[in-house]
């Protein structure tokens, strides 16, 4: 018993000693500070120069505390040369902060994690970096740091003021027509999720089941851009073929989207309000702007049909001369406003897309392009039989429009919003003369096609049966 006591006591003492040593002396930050101290000069390099001297350096934990931003950053415990000119270009973690950003954003006022993210309270590199440890906000890679500027500053102003990548990302976002599917600032399509707070999403909000790299929001987004279905199997998003720089610009722009995070009033820069004001003043957008934001991604200029290899279908030529000559403004309104439920064409009416009434009118007017139509003069075909029409449909239409009009490479016809708005005359005329510039050829005998006027009548009768309630009021 005596020996058990002696041995156990010795073990306890030794273990306790190790704990004391590990927690008080053998810490990562202490080693860094000792190394930093050895790098400091003992006398100023030049006479009269003021600089940090080795003998004045005290080994202790340091932190930047900013209650207004809920920041308690211990990064400066190891990143000791942040404002030391002698540490310009020194090795990490001692290097002087690059650029002059710290003059306008002093550490005492902003902390570190406000821009860099990461776990500010931590005192080890692994935990401070916050990747694959239990922390919601990992450290931003340096190449994506500009995203943090966008949390407060105006993207356009930033183009010339230190964050060109962010401005580039903002431009790319509009160029690529991301709004066709994604809302931002309330304006955009409904096919994909809104992106206003994508920069605030924490890693656990993403599914990393199919992600190969790091579990960070930016890595998820990057892998998702390259292979949307690989990362998120139910996604409808086409893969994006970005260059490395474009990818970084897009990631920077997306990570800057932090609508729900508003800095305290005293921290907001003037251009933040400029940005808000510009957003308000630029509305209502012109029809062309809106078309480019919302429609052009799929329909191109709209004058010709284009085959989209990802969706494996023909995108309708919504601004082709023949279409506009036959379609009424009311019909176009209905198609844009209600979309084609069940297809990738979402509804872009003002309630669903965030357009104002004026903007919606402008978009419709832009698509219509002032072309005179003879909608009301389109001649309906003679009444036909749906049964006969079905046989004709299988023979002539099914290849593109799909079985029972569900859609294939061609348009979906079994669509309530289409059939409700389209008159018999419009459908018949579309069959008769087709759509120049698209795969839809003329089918009427008179135009060199195979169908008589009566057969067109049968077809229209059949097409009418494809969707319940598919009759114009």
């Amino acid at each position: 018993m005596r020996y058990v006591l002696v041995v156990a006591s010795v073990v306890v003492l030794v273990l306790f000693g190790i704990m004391v040593a590990k927690s008080s002396y053998l810490t990562e930050w202490r080693e860094y500070q000792q190394e930093y101290q050895s790098m400091l000069p003992t006398a100023p390099p030049e006479e009269g120069q003021v600089c940090e001297l080795a003998q004045e350096f005290r080994i202790k934990q340091r932190q930047a505390v900013v209650p207004a931003l809920k920041v308690m950053d211990r990064c400066v415990t190891c990143h000791l040369g942040m404002d030391n000119p002698l540490m310009d270009g020194a090795k990490q973690p001692f290097r002087k902060h690059p650029g002059d950003i710290l003059t306008s954003h002093p550490v005492e006022k902003f902390g570190c994690t406000t821009c860099h993210r990461g776990q500010g309270v931590a005192t080890t590199w692994r935990d401070a970096r916050g990747v694959d440890v239990h922390w919601d906000d990992p450290l931003l890679p340096t190449k994506l740091i500009q995203s943090s500027c966008g949390a407060c500053h105006d993207a356009e102003w930033l183009a010339d003021n230190g964050a060109p990548l962010l401005a580039k990302g903002a431009a790319l976002f509009e160029e690529h027509g991301c709004r066709s599917c994604h809302k931002l600032g309330g304006l955009g399509g409904t096919l994909g999720p809104a992106l206003d707070n994508v920069g605030l999403k924490i890693p656990t909000e993403f599914s990393f089941t199919h992600v190969t790299g790091e579990h960070t929001a930016w890595n998820w987004l990057a892998e998702h851009f390259k292979d949307p279905q690989g990362v998120s199997p139910s996604s409808d998003m086409p893969p994006q073929d970005f260059t490395d720089e474009e990818m970084d610009a897009m990631l920077v722009f997306l990570l800057s989207q932090q609508a729900n995070h508003i800095a305290p009033r005293q921290y907001l820069p003037d251009d933040y309000f400029v940005s808000r004001a510009r957003e308000t003043n630029s509305r209502p957008y012109s029809g062309e702007q809106l078309y480019n934001m919302l429609c052009q991604r799929c329909h191109g200029s709209g004058e010709k049909g284009r085959f989209d290899p990802f969706f494996a279908r023909e995108m309708p030529a919504i601004r082709s001369q023949r279409f506009l000559e036959t379609a009424s403004e009311k019909f176009i309104r209905a198609q844009i406003g209600q979309g084609r439920p069940g297809t990738i064409m979402g509804a872009f009416g003002s309630t669903s897309s965030g357009l104002s009434e004026v903007e919606f009118d402008r978009l419709v007017a832009y698509v219509k392009g002032g072309v005179e139509d003879h909608w009301n003069e389109l001649e309906p075909p003679p009444a036909g039989s749906a049964v006969k029409g079905k046989r004709l449909y299988t023979k002539h239409c099914e290849e593109c429009h799909g079985k029972a009009g569900v859609g294939g490479s061609g348009n979906q016809l079994a669509s309530r919003t289409f059939l409700k708005a389209a008159t018999d005359g419009f459908i018949a005329e579309s069959i008769r003369t087709g759509r120049p510039g698209t795969k839809m050829e003329p089918f009427a005998l008179s135009a060199g096609g195979p169908l008589s006027e009566q057969e067109i009548g049968h077809l229209v009768a059949y097409i009418r049966t494809l969707s319940p309630g598919g009759k114009p009021k």
Partner: protein, 539 residues
């Protein structure tokens, strides 16, 4: 019959008076007193000099507030290492470790949803030794659950719960419940994802009597479950009120109850004559392993002088060895019992320290009510119950634990056979039954897990079955019935309540182990069965 033995030195004074240091005539003037200050101060604190004889040590044990929880003499049988394995002492030492580390943690911890998580981060990163403080607290808490259960197993298997210690067994069960409650309430305090969702599961278990009231359609009138949850959380969901409640429970109410019950527990075992021991230990002289020479190992001796002394302090009602008619198998508590206790305490301290150095206490992301953990697991010692909660929160969380506790509590009242106490498994048959029933219970519990995993349970075959049926008929309740039936079978075969009690405890232990292991290792997201967590769908 008490016989006053001849005293070693006889000056006619009672022991107590003689031992007091004499202080009169000690005034040496200002300077003299100042010089003497260290000595006089020390003497005023420790009123006796270090005792140098067995009797003086006994005296010290008797008159010291902290030591007098012991009898001045301890029976050699109680000191056999493989009788108690020091488990009770270890539990007590763990309470001390937990109290000390807990108090230190309280200095830094802030019980608010705003600050709790951050204050834990501060403890981990900047409080000197804070990470180890937290690790020690965590692992000591886990160790305590294990040690308390093992201590209970020791008492059960050695039959130490028998008359007159029946009620102390019940108090011990109370201490087990308090241990688990302390662990559970401590679980919420870090306010991380692990904490938040484990307590959410716990709160839903508190609300589970609704399974019954819903089935009876009286929830709108008598909502016991809702009331329990309301009392526990102070709100509908885990939030600030719950955090404050758990904090107060964890740091004040439950520790106070624990200390009070521990006092009673110790007091009663002291008053019941120390640890249970077989009757032969009072009749047959035992070898004293502590005595260094042949001489000292002779029976009838306790005092190193070779002369038996009995002061008033050695008298315990009804338990005094009859001098010159029976051997005295006791040794002075100081140093022998203290040595053994210190050894046990140091061993468990070393274990806890080692764990704390090797494994850091987990701390997940900040609690986020919008992102549920999947699986949301309770602390490991509740995972056996969570295994049943997967079928019915009421059955697993309230019904079965209540029945188990009542069943265990009844053991000393139903097994009143006058067997020898303090012998592992009582006899050879008991050992056989303990082993057999343990194996049987392992198999039965494994089946209770395997059958639903492979072929499904009632809900698989009858999707519309009322929940009440599953509350009553589920693998947990059936397993319990099988165990009870098995113990009744043992009772019929052996005609011995003691043997049946051994079987019952083996079943409890094996069932607890199997279900806990399954819940801890083999359950993944949505409580699905996985052979390894590496097969979990990655999130």
């Amino acid at each position: 019959m008490v016989v006053k033995p001849p005293l070693q030195e006889s000056d006619g004074k009672p022991d107590i008076e003689r031992e007091k240091p004499v202080e009169t005539g000690d005034d040496r003037g200002f300077v003299g007193n100042l010089v003497q200050l260290p000595r006089t101060f020390k003497e005023s604190v420790v009123r006796q000099s270090l005792p140098d004889s067995d009797r003086a040590r006994s005296q010290a044990v008797f008159s010291n507030l902290w030591l007098h929880a012991h009898a001045v003499r301890t029976h050699l049988y109680s000191l056999r290492p493989f009788y108690t394995m020091g488990l009770g002492v270890m539990a007590g030492v763990l309470v001390a470790i937990l109290t000390i580390t807990g108090l230190l943690l309280m200095i830094y911890y802030q019980p608010s949803t705003e600050n709790a998580y951050r204050s834990i981060k501060d403890i981990v990163y900047v409080v000197p030794g804070g990470m180890f403080l937290r690790n020690i607290h965590r692992w000591a808490a886990h160790a305590m659950v294990i040690v308390v259960i093992l201590h209970m197993a020791r008492v059960a298997y050695t039959g130490a719960y028998k008359k007159p210690r029946e009620f102390n067994w019940v108090i011990g069960l109370g201490l087990l419940v308090l241990t688990l409650a302390l662990s559970f309430t401590g679980y919420l305090l870090p306010w991380d994802q692990l904490a938040f969702w484990a307590i959410t599961v716990g709160a839903n278990i508190a609300a589970s009597p609704r399974e019954i009231t819903d089935a009876l359609g009286i929830t709108s009138q008598i909502d016991i479950g809702g009331l329990q949850k309301q009392i526990l959380l102070g709100a509908e969901h885990v939030g600030e009120p719950a955090l404050v409640r758990f904090y107060v429970l964890h740091c004040v109410i439950l520790p106070a109850a624990l200390f009070a019950l521990m006092g009673v527990h110790f007091w009663r075992s002291r008053k019941d004559g120390g640890l249970a021991r077989p009757s032969w230990a009072n009749r047959i002289p035992m070898r004293n392993p502590f005595a260094k020479d042949q001489e000292g190992q002779r029976p009838f001796l306790g005092d190193s002088t070779g002369v038996k002394t009995y002061g008033l302090m050695a008298l315990i009602r009804g338990r005094t060895p009859a001098v010159s008619r029976a051997p005295d198998n006791t040794v002075p508590s100081w140093p022998y019992a203290f040595l053994a206790e210190a050894a046990a305490g140091m061993v468990i301290t070393a274990v806890v320290f080692l764990l704390s150095l090797v494994f850091n206490a987990p701390l997940k992301e900040l609690a986020n009510p919008l992102i549920p953990e999947n699986p949301a697991k309770a602390p490991w010692y509740f995972l056996g119950l969570q295994e049943i909660v997967a079928y019915s929160a009421f059955a697993g969380g309230i019904l079965i634990p209540t029945i188990v506790l009542i069943g265990l509590g009844l053991i000393p009242y139903l097994d009143r056979e006058k067997d020898e106490q303090g012998i592992w498994f009582t006899n050879r048959l008991g050992g056989l039954i303990a082993a057999k029933s343990f194996v049987f219970a392992l198999v039965a519990a494994a089946a209770a897990v395997a059958i639903p995993v492979t072929v499904g349970w009632l809900r698989t075959w009858f999707p519309d079955i009322p929940q009440l049926v599953i509350t009553i008929i589920n693998p947990g309740t059936l397993l319990m019935l099988v165990y009870v039936a098995y113990c009744l079978l043992v009772l019929r075969r052996t005609k011995s309540t003691r043997m049946s009690a051994i079987a019952l405890f083996s079943c409890f232990l094996a069932g607890f182990i199997v279900l806990t292991v399954v819940g801890t290792i083999f359950r993944g997201p949505n409580w699905e069965f996985y052979w390894s967590s590496s097969n979990w769908p990655v999130h």
